[in-house]
């Protein structure tokens, strides 16, 4: 058998170059977060000093909590809205449903700046004050679009089968929803919650426009700090920030793995008769 020699071809070079381009910046942030050399030009040994400094700052802690609160609120509102939108759309005619879906796509496709500026102008017009609530409103607009699509896809596989079976067995539409459809939608609800949370948590564009002067989120803080040159504690904040997002993803991956494992166990059984 012929052994394959590693070859240096253009696609290989390109692949490596692109990967470097993608991931080296992230790697640099992570490394520098632990770099004891304050100038960040050379490796001055490992330290947790920047983390202590960053997480010890009250401003950072406050902004982290603000970000988490906004992301949490936006997620809950977006997911509840999406579930009701999907259930409601099921009662519409096919044409209306398609038009509604186009509107949903529009919320994802339109530049976020446009939506944010539009909302800002509306809020000004109404004479309302900006604050946490307006940031949540802005985030719900795009988070709910993603959540609707995820939940819609799952719901399409249930509609016309399980709701009918429940109705046939005597369940009112509401009972069919709470006892059958909602439990079966839970995986989709979990996925869309995670998406919403991460999208909201690290959003900058809408937040810049809608936060006003009183409200500050972590991404806005990082943005402000890096404008005055990258100080080492920005790296530490960014890495902590990344850790939260990764934790959410890890939880999700774990849940998915657990689900597929239990399903695989189930189908492996055979009728003993």
């Amino acid at each position: 058998m012929k052994r394959r020699r590693p070859r240096l071809s253009l696609p290989h070079v390109l692949l490596v170059a692109v990967l470097v381009f993608f991931y080296v910046p992230i790697g640099k942030v992570v490394v520098n977060a632990f770099n004891a050399d304050a100038s960040l030009n050379t490796w001055g040994g490992a330290t947790l000093h920047w983390f202590r400094a960053a997480l010890g700052s009250e401003r950072v802690r406050d902004d982290f909590l603000t970000s988490a609160a906004i992301a949490g609120l936006s997620t809950v509102i977006a997911v509840v809205l999406s579930i009701t939108a999907v259930m409601g759309a099921a009662r519409l005619s096919q044409g209306s449903r398609r038009r509604l879906q186009t509107l949903t796509y529009a919320r994802m496709m339109l530049p976020e700046v446009v939506i944010a500026v539009g909302l800002l102008l509306l809020i000004r017009k109404l004479g309302l004050n900006l604050g946490m609530w307006s940031v949540v409103a802005g985030h719900v607009i795009f988070c709910s679009a993603y959540a609707t699509l995820v939940i819609q896809a799952r719901f399409a596989t249930l509609k016309g089968t399980y709701d009918e079976a429940a109705a046939d067995l005597g369940a009112t539409p509401w009972r069919a929803f709470t006892r059958v459809l909602l439990p079966m939608l839970l995986p989709a609800v979990a996925i869309s919650s995670l998406l919403s949370f991460t999208f909201s948590f690290d959003d900058v564009v809408s937040t810049v426009f809608l936060a006003g002067s009183e409200t500050e989120t972590l991404p806005i803080l990082i943005l402000g700090m890096s404008r005055q040159g990258v100080s080492p504690d920005v790296n530490a904040i960014a890495v902590s920030f990344m850790a939260v997002t990764m934790l959410a993803l890890a939880l999700f991956a774990l849940a998915t793995w657990w689900r597929t494992r239990s399903a695989a166990q189930g189908t492996a059984r055979k009728d003993p008769r």
């Binding site: 089968t161 109705a167 067995l169 005597g170 069919a176 079966m184 189930g266 009728d271």
Partner: protein
């Protein structure tokens, strides 16, 4: 499979099964959209406690008819009556009829026990009552001891029985079954047919069974209704439908048949004087209005005799084109001199050894085995 000793338990399991109802469909119609009629004015009376099958090819409207009875599809017009009471406007969850779906539609997030208990909980039955009914129903469908499993942990046949139990435990006035055995292998189907028939017999519940499998329908049903293009073209007992089909379509759908073109010279009270070109004439039974002097004559393959030892009303000779051994039966196709083929089916042990493709064979049949159709 099921002993009579279980009868008492079954009656108890079905609870109010004595209330099984007669079902009447009155000019029932359903259209999907403006000019897409799926069911065109179906009139049907099903007796209480009857096992009735709706038989037809896919797309004939049989499932839509069933769904209108269940309340899952809105009738465009017409009435559905349960013991004389109109139910066509009631929503599905208020109708005392329950369905066994083709896909079973078991709730995957609930255990076998909770699936069967689902409807009872909707009725707010007491905990003790639910436990007793679910347990005895699971015994009835031979799933005792599997209460805690999820549907996906069961084989297809077992899932089928959970679906049956889930509906039966509610003591439906009418049980609707939408091709419930379609996904099972042949051996399992046979077992389930026996189970279904005995359950129906002992509980006395009215069954409306939708299928495209005529053997299945014949084996279980008291009466069958044959549907085509959204219309009910014949209703009758299995024997009647088989031996006296209303139309050519019905004849072909319920079993293989030879069709012979015939000239009709006269008719009188359901008897027709026919002339089969090249074969002779006879007075035969049939159904329908002959308008242009021609009709089709049905000849079931099992009534065609090969090398008959006794004289027959019709006799002919032809070349054997094909011999297919089917097990108990052997199917023989013989080409007649005028180009038509006649299929004969005969018990394999009676088959003359000389019968091979290319050989000449004599065929014969009696006039009483012929049946005339016009449609």
């Amino acid at each position: 499979m099921i002993g009579t000793s279980t009868t008492a338990r079954r009656r108890q399991a079905a609870g109010a099964a004595s209330g099984s109802a007669a079902l009447e469909l009155d000019a029932l119609c359903c259209s999907f959209g403006q000019d897409n009629p799926v069911v065109k004015s179906v009139d049907l009376k099903i007796r209480g406690g009857e096992f009735f099958s709706l038989l037809g090819p896919s797309g004939c409207g049989k499932t839509t008819t069933l769904r209108m009875i269940a309340g899952l599809e809105r009738a465009t017009s017409g009435r559905v009556l349960l013991d004389g009471v109109e139910i066509q406007d009631a929503p599905a969850h208020k109708r005392p009829v329950h369905t066994v779906f083709q896909s079973y539609a078991l709730f995957p997030h609930l255990s076998v026990y909770d699936n069967v208990a689902f409807g009872l909980k909707e009725r707010r039955a007491g905990a003790a009552e639910i436990k007793a009914k679910v347990s005895s129903m699971l015994e009835l469908v031979e799933l005792g001891g599997r209460e805690a499993l999820r549907p996906r942990q069961l084989s297809g046949g077992m899932q089928q029985r959970v679906a049956l139990a889930r509906s039966l435990v509610l003591s439906p006035r009418v049980l609707l079954l939408d091709e419930p055995l379609g996904a099972l292998d042949l051996r399992m189907r046979r077992q389930m047919q026996v189970l279904l028939k005995s359950v129906q017999h002992e509980l006395g519940i009215t069954f409306v069974y939708v299928t495209h499998d005529q053997e299945e329908a014949f084996a279980m049903s008291d009466r069958v209704g044959i549907m085509q293009h959204g219309e009910l073209i014949q209703v009758g007992g299995p024997q009647e439908v088989y031996h006296e089909p209303a139309t050519l379509f019905a004849a072909n759908f319920v079993g293989a048949s030879n069709t012979l073109a015939a000239r009709v010279t006269g008719s009188e009270g359901g008897r027709y004087d026919v002339e089969l070109p090249g074969l002779g004439g006879a007075r035969i039974a049939g159904r329908g209005e002959v308008t242009d002097g021609t009709a089709t004559v049905i000849l079931r393959p099992e009534t065609v005799l090969i090398e008959p030892s006794e004289p027959t009303d019709f006799a002919c000779e032809g070349t054997v084109e094909d011999v297919s051994f089917l097990g108990a039966q052997t199917s023989v196709r013989v080409g007649l001199p005028d180009g038509t083929s006649v299929k004969a089916e005969t018990p394999s042990r009676n088959l003359p050894a000389s019968l091979r493709p290319g050989e000449t064979a004599r065929l014969g049949w009696q006039a009483r085995d012929l049946w005339l159709v016009t449609g």
